[in-house]
């Protein structure tokens, strides 16, 4: 299996887990789980330097899922990577489960930040990147935000600081699925011109198909010592891989029926 084929297989497994978790818990955020899956799979199975046996190894690369509501995808990724047992996924959002609707670093090995309220991940990632800069450490810091999430002003405080401090060890990936909870981002509070905004904050900006593992691998490759943080705008489809969910705002936190769940699993198995 080629590296890209291996990532694709992991992505399929993550989608299947996350879908079933939402189906069984009768709640969750499947649309965002599906849009972010290929980004997570590429990072964990093709890019990041991690040790699931030693999740707080100081030299590890960090990933912060700022859009913490996509916890189904994150937990599924951590299970596939060996941070938590796959069986634990069955407890998603069950009473007293470590797998809360939003991730908690003190319960779940591999989780770096307690996200959920939007606009928290990027400032935390900036702090980690500064620590790495002070220590001249070679770890990298990745953070994934939603696109609607960029309406939160705290992101722009952090973006300004990252550009100012030339945090070349920081990579922000925007899961650009163009939908937010209630409507299209463009109809709610438009982000465009998004690349120009980050460039104006002294970031490097690239764009990629957020479901093309080879393209993402290329954009996430180690960068020569550059004096700028990197923003990867990953163009994605909310609900990706499940025909009736794709690009449908109602699937932000929809729950599939049994028939829909079976259809979705079938579609994913063919992906």
């Amino acid at each position: 299996m080629s590296p890209v084929e291996a990532i694709r297989a992991k992505a399929r497994a993550i989608r299947e887990h996350a879908l079933t978790m939402v189906y069984e818990a009768r709640q969750g955020h499947p649309g965002g789980d599906m849009s972010v899956t290929d980004i997570l799979a590429t990072l964990y199975f093709g890019v990041m330097r991690i040790d699931p046996q030693n999740p707080r190894w100081p030299g590890r690369d960090r990933l912060i899922l700022s859009k913490g509501h996509a916890s189904g995808a994150l937990y599924s990724t951590l299970a596939e990577a060996g941070f938590i047992p796959r069986e634990a996924l069955k407890t998603y959002m069950q009473p007293l489960s470590m797998l809360n609707g939003h991730p908690n670093r003190n319960y779940v090995p591999g989780v770096e930040a307690n996200t959920g309220p939007l606009g928290h991940g990027l400032p935390i990632a900036v702090g980690i990147a500064i620590a790495g800069q002070i220590d001249k450490a070679d770890y990298r810091v990745f953070v994934i935000t939603g696109d609607g999430e960029l309406q939160e002003g705290s992101n722009w405080e952090a973006a300004m600081a990252a550009g100012h401090r030339k945090l070349g060890n920081l990579t922000l990936i925007v899961d650009r699925n163009t939908l937010q909870q209630g409507a299209r981002v463009a109809d709610t509070n438009d982000l465009e011109p998004l690349p120009d905004k980050f460039r104006a904050f002294n970031w490097d900006v690239v764009e990629a198909d957020g479901h093309d593992h080879a393209a993402l691998l290329g954009q996430f490759a180690p960068r020569p010592r550059v004096g700028k943080p990197l923003c990867v705008i990953a163009h994605t489809v909310k609900g990706k891989g499940i025909s009736f969910m794709e690009d449908q705002v109602g699937w932000h936190h929809g729950v599939p029926t049994k028939a829909q769940w079976e259809q979705a699993l079938n579609e994913l198995s063919l992906s």
Partner: protein, 319 residues
């Protein structure tokens, strides 16, 4: 490190003690860094920045990012002291303090500078008389309110040694250095009995502690024996010290804070479930009018005389 000098006739600015002690602990532990919001001067951290420029992170006027960055620095193995005016730190960044620091159990030290009405005439936007109420509801967060330069230094040392989140008020209002026995020790979660008494208990924190002691002197001359307890630690709360106060049958609390939700509220929550007794809770009734801190203390009875009268009332109401 030489001891900070008095600002006027034996009165001290606790920020000097904060800055000197932070330099001392930072000298011994290179993980310690500071994070500020253009608040180097008002935090008296100019010397720190000069000595350790690479360990001084000024994020500019951006409090949400400031606290998030603090949490990230802790993730990266640092011990950040995030120092900003308490009104902006506790108010603007409250959700970051909740999620990124307290809920995350991040090893972040939050320094609430110039709390209470320290900014006087600048008004209620710059007063921080809500911080203790907002923050004491957050699990995992230790809250310290030192009353003088010695306790400020001890609180900074304790925070640096403590693994976990801490919020410390550092006052700019000039305070005397309390006389203490050589064996005096500061501990997070421990109240300090400064004066024994048998008729009424005065529980105080921060700037109000010396006033409470003065009130106890006056009460003694009027035949009322008041004990004075310094609550340098608001969270965790010293439950035994509160029960001992309730055992006396009359309590006055006094703090540079809203009269609702701070030390007084915390004490009342314990007293009502243990041994209800007459209480007087001294603090500000709401947004303060224009005036210096001293003026506002006078206006709202946060003085030795005000405490004296409240203690007499509580004592008279004792069952």
């Amino acid at each position: 490190m030489s001891a900070p000098a008095p600002v006027a006739s034996n009165l001290f600015d606790c920020r000097d003690s904060f800055a000197a002690t932070l330099a001392e602990v930072a000298e011994a532990d290179e993980r310690i860094v500071v994070v500020v919001n253009d608040s180097l001067g008002s935090s008296k951290l100019g010397g720190f920045a000069k000595r350790w420029p690479e360990r001084t992170i000024n994020v500019g006027i951006a409090e949400q990012n400031m606290v998030g960055v603090g949490s990230g620095l802790a993730n990266g193995g640092k011990i950040p002291f995030v120092s900003a005016a308490s009104c902006f730190l506790a108010g603007r960044a409250l959700e970051q303090i909740k999620a990124d620091v307290a809920y995350s159990i991040a090893n972040v030290k939050l320094i609430g500078q110039s709390p209470g009405v320290g900014y006087g005439e600048l008004g209620p936007t710059h007063h921080s008389i809500e911080d203790l109420a907002w923050l004491r509801l957050l699990p995992n967060l230790a809250i310290l309110v030192p009353c003088d330069p010695w306790e400020t230094a001890e609180a900074i040392k304790a925070a640096a040694a403590h693994e976990g989140p801490v919020f410390i008020r550092v006052t700019r209002f000039p305070v005397p250095k309390l006389p203490r026995p050589a064996e005096a020790r500061f501990a997070i979660s421990k109240a300090e009995v400064l004066r024994e008494g048998s008729d009424v208990a005065i529980l105080a924190c921060g700037v109000m502690v010396t006033r409470a002691l003065q009130a106890a002197d006056a009460l003694a001359t009027s035949g009322v024996s008041a004990c004075v307890v310094n609550f340098g630690s608001i969270a965790p709360l010293d439950i035994e010290a509160i029960r001992a106060a309730a055992d006396l049958g009359a309590i006055v609390t006094v703090e540079e804070h809203s009269a609702r939700g701070g030390l007084g509220g915390a004490v009342a929550e314990v007293v009502v479930g243990y041994k209800p007794c007459p209480m007087r809770i001294l603090g500000f009734p709401g947004f303060a009018p224009t005036g210096s801190a001293s003026f506002l203390f006078e206006k709202f009875g946060l003085t030795a005389d005000g405490i004296f009268r409240a203690a007499q009332e509580a004592h008279a109401a004792r069952r």
